[in-house]
């Protein structure tokens, strides 16, 4: 093609044959159409969530617990969204410091060492581990052995979620921390500041907005996960804040309601799914706002 183009160019402006023009037009059209197709599912999912779920958002939905009744009044979702908040908060409390710590190690200490390379690789590997495998792992290690006196417990679900969120936090903080200019570190070190204070007083505060972004995105990811909770937290109806006991959660309620023959339960399931998506999107939106404040 390039040869013929050169020949044509000699005459003046390159003349593009009708056939090549047609191919170009078809290809452009296809690419635009495929891009539209990418976005269509989002529109459809959001439409159906609102169309079928918004009706379930009554006052009772937010203020009463599920009744557990299969055929009658299903009750609300109070325990589920409170439970999700508690489980995810604990998971965040575990995964964010560990994840940021690993990020700091990789950027400020390990750098290009062999060990850092191996850690970096396995953090990547962990982001690819299916979430159900984390659930199985926590089940084997913590649930079967009745650690803490109970089989399924909220904190065990939090650990399963933390395993899933930690590599996400580690990866994103590595990216953010490596954007902190080395000249800042060097200036502080040249003043005789010890390395750990450089990290705590210079590097982390500079990267803070980015670290918040990464952490919130990890929280958004964790909040929507169902598979790690299946055998670790299980499901219950009452509102409970006892971390060493069963706890309700939104994803588990949605998962349980999908196949129900009771239309009221299904509608409540849609309402719960809408609430879950809203929570995830709020976290994502705050994450983006935090990112905007960054000067990196």
């Amino acid at each position: 093609m390039s040869m013929s183009a050169v020949h044509e160019a000699r005459v003046g402006l390159p003349v593009v044959s009708a056939r090549r023009k047609a191919t170009d037009r078809v290809a452009r059209g296809l690419i635009a159409a495929m891009t539209l197709i990418t976005v269509v599912p989002l529109v459809l999912v959001v439409y159906f969530l609102i169309a079928r779920g918004a009706g379930a958002w009554t006052a009772e939905f937010f203020t009463t617990d599920p009744t557990g009744s299969v055929l009658g009044d299903p009750g609300g979702m109070r325990s589920a969204y409170l439970g999700t908040l508690v489980i995810v908060a604990l998971a965040a409390l575990i995964s964010i410091p560990v994840g940021i710590g690993i990020g700091v190690y990789l950027v400020d200490y390990g750098r290009r060492s062999r060990f850092a390379g191996i850690v970096r690789y396995f953090v990547d590997v962990m982001t690819g581990v299916p979430s159900i495998v984390f659930g199985l792992f926590v089940y084997i290690v913590l649930v079967v052995s009745h650690v803490g006196g109970s089989a399924s417990a909220a904190w065990k679900g939090s650990i399963a979620l933390a395993l899933l969120m930690m590599p996400v936090v580690a990866r994103s903080s590595e990216v953010v921390l490596s954007l902190v200019p080395d000249s800042l570190r060097e200036a502080a070190l040249a003043l005789g500041t010890p390395r750990w204070r450089v990290v705590m007083r210079i590097v982390l505060p500079t990267a803070l907005p980015g670290l918040i972004t990464g952490s919130l995105l990890a929280i958004a990811r964790g909040a929507g996960e169902t598979a790690p909770l299946l055998f670790t937290v299980s499901i219950t109806n009452g509102t409970s804040f006892d971390l060493n006991n069963l706890m309700d959660s939104l994803p588990m309620q949605v998962f349980g309601n999908i196949g129900s023959p009771n239309p009221a339960l299904v509608e409540r399931g849609w309402g719960a799914a809408l609430l879950l998506v809203t929570m995830v999107l709020v976290a994502t939106a705050i994450a983006r706002l935090a990112a905007r404040r960054s000067r990196l």
Binding site: S2, A5, V6, A9, V16, T23, R28, L30, I31, A32, M34, I37, T38, V39, L42, V45, L49, G101, I102, V104, G110, V119, F122, M126, G128, P130, S131, I132, V133, F137, V141, S172, V176, L179, G192, T193, P194, R195, W196, R197, T213, A218, A220, E225, T226, A227, L230, P251, V254, F255, I258, G259, W270, A273, V277, V280, T284, R288, A291, L296
Partner: protein, 345 residues
């Protein structure tokens, strides 16, 4: 520094000479962080050992080869051949990839090469939002909206294309194709986001050279953009495949939970992750049954590990090109985008 006391007689000490910080706090901080990093390696090793130790009962009962290659999964008879589950996992993931790849790469090309500056931001945002929708939401939408809607469409396809192998017969609704389709929706934003990054690294010179030779826009893409980003896009596709292989909740509803190898693409099946999600509750009291499901988890772990290791290698290679390109142009990626991509990937 902090432990310093003002003493007129002694010379002033700075951290160079080894104050409290330099002598104790600094090494302690360093070793604590190193230990934290080592924790990741320990966890992965721990995973393996524990999964193997618990799956061992079932694997010994069934025999390793029979576990992986027999398709007789019949818990009441203590038969645990996981091949049909592995088959379902692989087939649905491949269907998902076949559907998602052209769509995702096209959208990545569109965002990079065609979209105006005003369109680029919103499109990127939409793709990233798509990635943040929880899988249980795709499960409820796929099962309650898409499945009834597509059932007649699938039946029509099965009737019309019945001459093809693997197509034809009664369409049940859920099945391999439907699962693959929903998985495709879930992995499209992942493949799109990484491909977008990779395509953005194609040097302008390559594109301009093709243009100068009279290439049309499509020819620029075909001759300059796609060949340059092929390794990165392959990596992105593999990462998407890895995600599709491990996806649980949507597939648990959409595949139908049929133990066996389906005889048609629209037929029912089961997957490793789906079987674990659906059956673990009843299996928990039976060590062999639960061991077999843990074995499924192990199999899934190993398969996704291999796929991801390949993908990471390819993406890392493509990204090292990107860093070279960025170093040349002195352009650092915007922080928000960098974080977003690290998370989506």
């Amino acid at each position: 520094m902090s432990a310093e006391t003002i003493d007129a007689g002694a010379p002033r000490r700075t951290s160079f000479e080894g104050g409290f910080s330099a002598r104790y706090a600094d090494p302690a901080f360093k070793w604590a962080l190193t230990a934290l990093a080592a924790l990741v390696l320990a966890l992965i090793a721990f995973f393996f050992v524990f999964l193997i130790s618990k799956a061992h009962v079932a694997l010994a009962h069934q025999g390793l080869l029979s576990f992986a290659f027999s398709d007789d999964w019949n818990p009441p008879k203590e038969a645990f051949g996981a091949f049909s589950l592995l088959f379902g996992t692989v087939v649905t993931a491949i269907i998902a990839l076949v559907i998602a790849l052209p769509v995702a790469v096209s959208s990545a090309i569109f965002i990079n090469e065609f979209a105006t500056a005003r369109l680029k931001g919103p499109l990127t945002l939409l793709v990233d939002l798509l990635a943040s929708v929880p899988s249980v939401v795709y499960a409820i939408w796929g099962f309650l909206v898409l499945q009834p809607f597509l059932k007649p469409v699938q039946q029509w396809l099965a009737d019309t294309l019945g001459f093809l192998p693997w197509v034809g017969g009664e369409v049940p609704g859920p099945g391999y194709f439907l699962s693959g389709l929903v998985l495709a929706i879930m992995i499209t934003p992942i493949i799109s986001a990484i491909s977008r990054e990779v395509i953005a690294t194609v040097p302008v010179e390559h594109k301009e050279a093709a243009k100068a030779l009279g290439a049309t826009k499509w020819e620029v893409l075909r001759l300059a953009v796609l060949p340059y980003s092929r390794a990165g896009i392959t990596g992105a596709a593999l990462l998407g495949l890895g995600r599709a292989l491990g996806e649980t909740i949507a597939v648990a509803y959409l595949l139908g939970g049929y133990h066996g190898i389906g005889d048609q693409i629209f037929g029912l099946g089961d997957s490793l992750a789906g079987a674990i999600a659906n059956e673990f509750g009843e299996a928990a009291s039976d060590p062999i049954y639960s061991g077999a499901l843990i074995g499924c988890g192990l199999l899934l772990f190993v398969v996704t590990l291999i796929v991801n290791a390949l993908a990471r290698g390819l993406v890392a290679r493509a990204e090292s090109k990107q860093f070279r390109a960025a170093a040349q142009s002195h352009a650092a990626p915007a922080m928000a985008d960098a974080v977003e991509d690290a998370v989506v990937a």
